[in-house]
């Protein structure tokens, strides 16, 4: 089996973010990968579901747990286009995610501004991949919203 790269998976998360954009949702997308295979994809649906908790990461984590039949995701990697908020960092803690890769930083609500220890000590965190593309899509969305 071809070993897929972080770039490939983050690009899949970006595709999800673009779907959110098309649906007039804040454009954030996420995928969960287990053993080189995508087991869950989601994008932010807070408007559509009328649910402030329906962030891309929350939906992807729930969906991944369903797919695996396990509430623990130790062997999984989450790729998300924006730095997770405190809620999503908390969800990653409880699910013991193996790795989190996020694209753009979130200076206003990103978890790392609050406390690094929100993340499970076993979870590796990487950031910056496709950050510019993600920021650009978010900027475009908020520009459209203000019109």
């Amino acid at each position: 089996m071809e070993l897929l790269t972080d770039e490939f998976f983050m690009n899949e998360a970006m595709k999800m973010a673009k779907m959110a954009f098309e649906d007039d949702e804040i454009p954030v997308g996420a995928v969960v990968v287990c053993r080189n295979r995508i087991i869950a994809k989601a994008y932010n649906q807070t408007e559509k579901l009328t649910d402030a908790t329906a962030h891309a990461e929350m939906l992807a984590i729930t969906s991944a747990a369903n797919a695996l039949g396990s509430k623990y995701l130790n062997e999984c990697k989450l790729y998300v286009t924006l730095e997770p908020c405190v809620m999503c960092a908390g969800a990653s803690y409880w699910s013991q995610l193996g790795e989190i890769h996020y694209a753009a930083s979130d200076p206003s609500r990103g978890f790392s501004r609050v406390a690094e220890r929100l993340i499970h000590p076993k979870t590796k965190v990487k950031s910056g991949l496709m950050s510019d593309e993600s920021k650009q899509l978010l900027d475009e969305f908020f520009k459209k919203l203000r019109k």
Copy 2:
């Protein structure tokens, strides 16, 4: 209409916690109240739903937003038998809950140990009501689990 008390609502949350106990889930229960009426009830279902995010508060917040048709819960009060974790505090932030009443403190994973500012500045937080009953139920659960 009779004005129901905080004690009444926390007791309803405790009933939910007891249902969790009966289902072999960590016994935490929550209700959401809007204008003196319970609009959502939930208990922890992380085992049953195989979903580490299925805390009582998350389920109650999502259910309350559904009931109201609004993702914001400014006029609502959450009664929960255990201090919310970081994830649930984050969810309360996004939903802009009017008030949070929690019974027992959670010295290991309670949000207040991490940072007070996880909670929305407009959300009032009260604690301690029925704390002993809640702790007792949790202790009993973990005693049963270790057997």
